[in-house]
Each structure stands twice: as C-alpha cells, then as structure tokens.
C-alpha cells in the first residue's frame, strides 16, 4: 500500500475531523480524494504541519489530526519534544512514513534507513506512540479517535504516488472555511 491507499482507507474515519495536511502530496491527495472545509491544506512551509496541529489542538477542544510525512518530521524534529511536553488529549499526529520524499521524486529519507521515528518520538518523551503497518492504519487511527489520549502514530507504507493536480484554492479561502468549522 502507498500513501494514497492509506488515505483512501482512512477517509470514512477522518472526513469530518479537523485535519492539518502536510505540504505537497498529502494535501493534494486529500484535496482530490475528499475535499472538506475541515481540511487545512498547507501550500508551503514544509515541516510545520505537526506544529500547526498542536497549536490548534491546544487552542480549542475539537479533535485535531496532523497528517504529516516522515521527511517533514525529520525537517522539524524540534516538534517532538514540544508535543511531548505540551500534552493535548485531542491531538493525533499521524505520520505516514514511506521512507521517502514523495513530493520531490521519492528520494530516500533516513526514516527508511536506520532512524526509527517512533523510537525518536518515545525518546523525546511522547507517552503514547504507536507504530503500525499500512494495512492496520484504519484500526489504529480509529482507536486513537475513540480514545482520549494524545497519540503519535507512525504508519509505515510503501513509497509511491498517484497523479494529482496542484491545489489552486486561495489560501485565505482555505483558512476561512476551516476556521468556520473550528468555530461551529
């Protein structure tokens, strides 16, 4: 299974949840597969999906899923201690870990080599870290949504991409409709 297969299986679960989606293909795939006002598409700023997600989770009570990638978390490792030490029980960091920079041509990342993101997250002090295979993504995310505990999920999957168009929505429109869902 590649990332888009994982996302397809998750849509029934996450369609009406607040999602902060990482730059590039994660945003573009969610936009293509299930565009929702509850999706905050990042159009730039690689690395900050988990930070935006945590800030949002701390700011209000609705559940928040940051849909992140391994390359993005590697770029902003400082996020993991901040998450560990500012626990938001409504926050799920879902790292789709395909061991590659998918949006730029599938160059390998270190998480596909010797570095385990789940070990790093635990070492940073995150209390509830779950590593799963792509086939178990649905059950793992469901358990996290049903629970009341901040959860870091590292979902391992194969590298590979589907063809998707770029998002031509205006960023202010993305933000405005997202904030209306947050406030509803």
């Amino acid at each position: 299974m590649i990332r888009s297969d994982v996302l397809k299986t998750l849509i029934p679960l996450i369609s009406d949840q607040l999602l902060v989606t990482n730059i590039g293909l994660p945003s573009q795939e969610m936009h293509l597969l299930d565009d929702q006002p509850s999706n905050f598409y990042m159009l730039g700023t690689m690395g900050l999906a988990s930070s935006i997600g945590l800030g949002l989770a701390l700011a209000q009570d609705k559940k928040v899923i940051a849909l992140d990638g391994d390359g993005s978390v590697l770029m902003n490792f400082g996020t993991l201690p901040t998450i560990a030490n500012n626990v938001a029980s409504n926050f799920i960091l879902l790292i789709i870990d395909n061991g590659s920079y998918g949006s730029t041509g599938d160059q390998p990342t270190y998480s596909g080599m010797k570095t385990s993101l789940s070990d790093v997250a635990r070492a940073c002090g995150c209390d509830h870290v779950v590593e799963c295979q792509a086939e178990d993504a649905f059950d793992t995310v469901k358990a996290a949504l049903d629970g009341d505990q901040m959860t870091i999920i590292v979902c391992k999957c194969e590298s590979g991409n589907i063809k998707v168009p770029v998002i031509d929505m205006d960023p202010v429109v993305i933000k405005d409709r997202f904030m209306k869902v947050v406030q509803s």
Binding site: V20, G47, L54, T82, K175, V182
Partner: protein, 165 residues
Amino acid sequence: MSVNDVIMEALVENKVDFVTTVPCKQLAGVIEKIDEEPDIYHIPANREDEGMGLCAGAHLGGKRPAIIMQNTAIGVTINALATLIQFYRMPLPMLISYRGEVGEPVACQVEMAVHTKALLNQLSIPTYHFHKPEDANELTDILSYCYMSKKPVAVLMDATFWKGA
C-alpha cells in the same frame, strides 16, 4: 514601571492568550512574567519557525498568539513568514530582542543586526524600533494594529531599551 511590566500590561490588555518563546538574555525577565501569567498559555519552542507554526495553529483555533524571539531568528523564519503567516493572512506580533545594536558585547550579533531591518523591509513587515524605555507605551496600539491588519508585525527592542527592565 519596568519595561517588562509595560509589555505584560499591553499583552493582557490585548487579550493575548498564547505565546511561544525562544529565549534571549534580554528577554529573560519578560519570559518569566509570561510564564507566571495565568491567562497566557506559554509554550517554549525549540526553533522560531516551529513557534510560528504553533502560533498559526492557535490562530486557527481562535486564540490571539504572539512570538517572542531574538532578531537572529529572522534568518530561520523567512519561509514561515512568507508561505504561512503572510500567505494565509494571519496576525502575528513578533516581540524581538534586537541584538547587535549599540551596547552589544558580542561581535557576531552585529552580523545579523545589520541585516535585520533590511530583511523585514524586504518582507514588507511593519516594523517598530523601541530604543527608549518609554517607547514600550506604544506596544498596546501596535498589538491592536497587528490583529486588525492580520499581518506579522515586528517590534525590535534594543539594548538601550532593555536598560529600562
């Protein structure tokens, strides 16, 4: 009144309730006060672009965020400012310890100081320079202006200003 107290009063008056910080020697006093203020959620960041991500999320969640950092951070936050804060029209007051000005003991700090205003200008970020302690009285209006305009706004506070701490 110490400039730290004036800054705190301006933050509270503007209902700033989410502040991320990366420390600087000159900011120690104000960071301590923010940590003690019950109406402000204080979240230390490891790097300032991470802090801007936290502030962006807090804004989406209805909070009034601010970031407190050193001017060297301009060097690591340009992408976050342009592609997140400015692109999505988010308000972000940046209270900046302006190192490398007159009174600076560390030569290396001057190297970023000489670029600080030029970079902020290049980014079209409204920028205010606090030099005298009484300049702190402007902060309340600057914060209102920032949230009204939904833009990042920079307040550079130099060593002479911090003599009022």
